[in-house]
Subunit: 287 residues, 2 copies
Amino acid sequence: MKTYLDCIACAIRQALDSVRLTTNDEQIHEQVLRKALSFASKLDFQQSPPEITQQTHRFIRELTGVEDPYLEIKNRFNKSALEMYPDLKKRIETSSDPLETAVRLAIAGNIIDFGVSSVIEQSQVEETIAQSLTAPLDKEALERFRNAIAEASDILYIGDNAGEIVFDRLLIEQLPLEKITFSVKGSPILNDATMEDARIVSLTDLVNVIENGSDAPGTILEDCSKAFRQRFDEADLIIAKGQGNFETLNDVNKNIFFMLRPKCVVLARHLGCEIGSLVLVSYDAKR
Amino acid sequence: MKTYLDCIACAIRQALDSVRLTTNDEQIHEQVLRKALSFASKLDFQQSPPEITQQTHRFIRELTGVEDPYLEIKNRFNKSALEMYPDLKKRIETSSDPLETAVRLAIAGNIIDFGVSSVIEQSQVEETIAQSLTAPLDKEALERFRNAIAEASDILYIGDNAGEIVFDRLLIEQLPLEKITFSVKGSPILNDATMEDARIVSLTDLVNVIENGSDAPGTILEDCSKAFRQRFDEADLIIAKGQGNFETLNDVNKNIFFMLRPKCVVLARHLGCEIGSLVLVSYDAKR
């Protein structure tokens, strides 16, 4: 997905939010802001929004020397999601359609995304989970997803954020584990999950987990490692979580199911839905 | 008031909103956006937010050739406010404290401001009027205002927006008319009132109306005409309406009463109040 003009003001605000999280030094806030403005003024808007965020966060790391400003946030949300895990697991197992319930919860978990919001409360996560169990979901897409899982022999599940990956684990536990590879980012960006998070939530004990070699908050294939790209090419089904993966992969000609909660008006308009709705969509059939 | 770092993303969004109102040509939207980003990256943040808006709107006029993109909006809100005028006039005259009611309505009228929002509905105006009659208002400031009016011999009332000036007229009708000069912008900027609007709402029949010689959405004294600055200096009491006038005059050492509804979190935080509250404040006593 290209960067809409509306994305720019949001990216500028996000850069400021992020640097404030990293340091209280207002001179550095101003430096990052000016650099982000100057960078955005010359940007190729055919690039996707995560490419801008990737660049901006590189400035922030350079200027602050802080490699992982969201570390505390990631640990907090991993912990609170793990605390919810037993109850959510029970809900899935006792539901009339465990796969559907697990899909709903996996999408609900996508609320834990610090790319658009800079503040997310645990109460919002709980509220989102409750709503997700009954919110509208494209049942036809769900059936296609169910069939695609059964037919696929090699599934790449591209994760999004720390905390959220506990919800991914719940879904993965409903899938044929031997078919699944789960991927995380190559290094820290926003609150996106890395290998360390996959270990913390024990995904590494469940399935093969790989790094994508990139520090973009999405999947920019040309920025990923050769090994990841090969794994991506080999997979006959991709599950891609979250807004950043949608924005970077929605034009890729591949059998991909996207699962996300749209977090901004631009993406909601692009998808023809409301902010915060449950999105399960695949574009394969349209090609 | 200086420009807070948070103001920048908002100014970028506002530039895009404004150019979209002016033309459907997406290439021009992109040109304006890039120019605004580049301009903001080099900006002196000691300048006030209206100085940024002034510059941005100059680009927009240059690139589009449209001198007054808000003309239709200004006419619409002048008309709808004039339709409300007889009823509001009656409410003031039958109230137990006509000056207080008129002050409340004058502040309520400040909702008609396209500087922060790009869409304002008539229903919001009506709702704001209804709320303003009972919303909290600083009574001590109101008494100081009442005394200041009685003591002053030469009052400059600095208007803000078209439509809103009908509400200013209602307040002015409660003041000693012979003391009042009303000022409007020198040329179009956003939906700020110009001499044409003052004529449309008959303020010109009521008091002396002058132009300030500037195209800034506020009162940047050094950008105003010499005649206006002289009038400003001579006045022993200034009434300044709206956020833009606050942002440009709040550091000026003069007997000024500001009346406004704060429209963004930055100004609300600066004032220590909520967005949309009724603000009647003078800084004279503190100097």
